[in-house]
């Protein structure tokens, strides 16, 4: 979770015939893999608590859907709340770093080093300090997610086109006007590439928080299922985690398209 790719424009604009193919290709590969898995399980006769077949996983997902929904909502709630806190903290840190080179020099390296601390080691500490309640989970999510947002946004502020700043300066614009008219919109694509990473981490963060102890949530559901050798349920919850992550990713993508309409029309020339 320590890498943060640069803005990928194709992800924002890819449409048309190629867009259709970009769904069909991974889709058919996935289906092929699932068929192989299904056949392998049936032919080998492997025990279902060791490796359940895809059809069994779907069946179990259907049968436990009320229970899984109950746990999923909790996890989704924690992930979203943690993400919101991460955005607030990340944006604040990015603005602070951008205020002066001194602050950047002081904060930036510490920020990077802080990310080498494995979250799985910090989570039990949070548990000791904040208990088994929701606060701990939300904090884990926020800790995992603020970093890509802060670093990407700070880069966006730093890489702003100096010609634009000069032009506004020649018009007599104030610092506030320059920030609002140039820095903020110029940094938006960077902010969203940070958000995409943070969004995919958020559900994972919530699940890690719940593993260590909770009364409700997909993490504790997984722990209980695996301890009871209900492997099909473990797989079912993995499926749901993927689904939840995709929902959050989709929300972020939708927001990016809505806030950056100029990015969408890049197919024109």
């Amino acid at each position: 979770m320590k890498n943060w790719p640069n803005i990928d424009k194709s992800r924002l604009s890819g449409k048309g015939a190629k867009g259709w193919l970009s769904l069909a290709l991974p889709g058919s590969l996935l289906i092929a893999l699932l068929i192989i898995w299904e056949m392998a399980v049936h032919l080998s006769g492997i025990e279902k608590w060791l490796l359940p077949s895809p059809s069994l996983i779907l069946k179990s997902l259907w049968e436990t859907k009320d229970l899984i929904l109950h746990h999923s909502l909790q996890t989704l709630y924690e992930a979203l709340l943690g993400l919101v806190i991460a955005v607030l903290v990340g944006v604040l840190i990015a603005i602070m770093i951008d205020l002066s080179t001194r602050i950047r020099q002081a904060v930036y390296p510490l920020l990077v080093v802080s990310q080498t601390i494995p979250i799985i080691a910090v989570a039990p500490l949070l548990m000791i300090w904040f208990g088994y309640g929701m606060t701990t989970k939300i904090l884990v999510v926020a800790l995992v997610c603020f970093f890509p947002i802060a670093v990407n946004l700070a880069d966006g502020f730093r890489l702003v086109d100096q010609e634009m700043i000069r032009l506004l300066a020649s018009m007599g614009a104030s610092k506030g006007q320059m920030f609002r008219m140039v820095k903020l919109p110029a940094a938006l694509p960077f902010f969203f590439s940070g958000m995409r990473i943070a969004g995919t981490y958020s559900v994972m963060g919530a699940v890690i928080g719940e593993w260590l102890g909770a009364s409700r949530g997909l993490g504790i559901f997984m722990t209980r299922s695996s301890q009871s050798f209900l492997t099909d349920r473990v797989f079912a919850s993995i499926l749901v985690i993927v689904f939840l992550s995709l929902i959050i990713f989709g929300l972020i993508e939708g927001m990016a398209r809505w806030l950056m309409p100029w990015h969408r029309r890049s197919d024109f020339k």
């Binding site: 010609e163 506004l168 018009m171 007599g172 938006l188 029309r265 890049s266 024109f268 020339k269």
Partner: protein
């Protein structure tokens, strides 16, 4: 003709200490009359950009003075309409929202600014691009939008920094004629920086020639060609004589 802009004895150097100091401008004096189109031509490194920076209020000279309408212009931003070399259109804004930037900076209400800009779009040949984003426009159209934005700074002193330097020859010729047409309509005082001799002769009333570093005024040339001018004039004998004049002056200035 009454004087709009008076630049006298401008000196500008860069770098710290006596050893590392580089002199960019040395005793530069020139003037621009009201409604006058003045060219500034010189090799690269002649301090043209330094001069424009000072005129736009973005930096201060070591010594010297600039008067506009009799008042000192030194360190004052937002007093002239400045058009940078590249179009510097904001990719996240539509053309309409790009050209209204100077009015937004000046605090004019959005609705009012848009209305005024909308009224000017046809004059600048941009009426069908109001809601387009800059990347959907050709280089020439982008330059028009950039010029309209400069125009909407609403200062009657315009600084144009090689506005057509990055366009292809054909578009460039069209834009020169278009600019002449615009200028005929609005009659601002213009200081036009270029390193293209023909462009300078075609557009300007008077041309100052700067030397290579440090930038000094080598001389000034009156362009007595009748207006309105067209690019066809570049084959006329007066035009060619002026061109030879200027080229020789530039050659001496670079010391070759």
């Amino acid at each position: 003709m009454p004087v709009k802009l008076q630049i006298s004895q401008l000196r500008k150097s860069f770098g710290e200490g006596n050893q590392n100091q580089v002199l960019a401008l040395d005793r530069v004096s020139m003037s621009v009359g009201k409604n006058e189109f003045v060219g500034l031509i010189g090799p690269s490194g002649s301090g043209k950009s330094s001069l424009l920076d000072i005129l736009a209020g973005l930096s201060l000279p070591d010594t010297g003075e600039i008067l506009m309408d009799g008042k000192s212009l030194l360190g004052r931003k937002g007093e002239v309409s400045y058009m940078p070399q590249s179009d510097v259109l904001f990719p996240w804004r539509t053309i309409l929202d790009n050209v209204t930037i100077p009015m937004e900076v000046a605090g004019i209400p959005r609705k009012e600014a848009r209305k005024e800009a909308m009224g000017l779009l046809p004059t600048f040949g941009l009426e069908s691009f109001a809601e387009s984003y800059p990347k959907m426009l050709s280089g020439g159209m982008r330059q028009r939008a950039s010029f309209l934005r400069t125009f909407l700074c609403k200062k009657d002193m315009m600084l144009l920094d090689e506005p057509f330097g990055k366009l292809d020859a054909l578009t460039r010729m069209q834009m020169q004629e278009w600019l002449l047409d615009m200028w005929q309509k609005f009659q601002h005082a213009v200081l036009f920086v270029t390193h293209d001799v023909e462009e300078a002769i075609l557009l300007c009333d008077r041309i100052y020639v700067l030397s290579a570093r440090p930038g000094r005024v080598l001389g000034e040339v009156e362009v007595n060609l009748p207006r309105p001018r067209t690019s066809v004039m570049s084959t006329n004998s007066d035009f060619i004589r002026l061109k030879r004049n200027l080229l020789e002056m530039l050659k001496e200035g670079t010391g070759h």
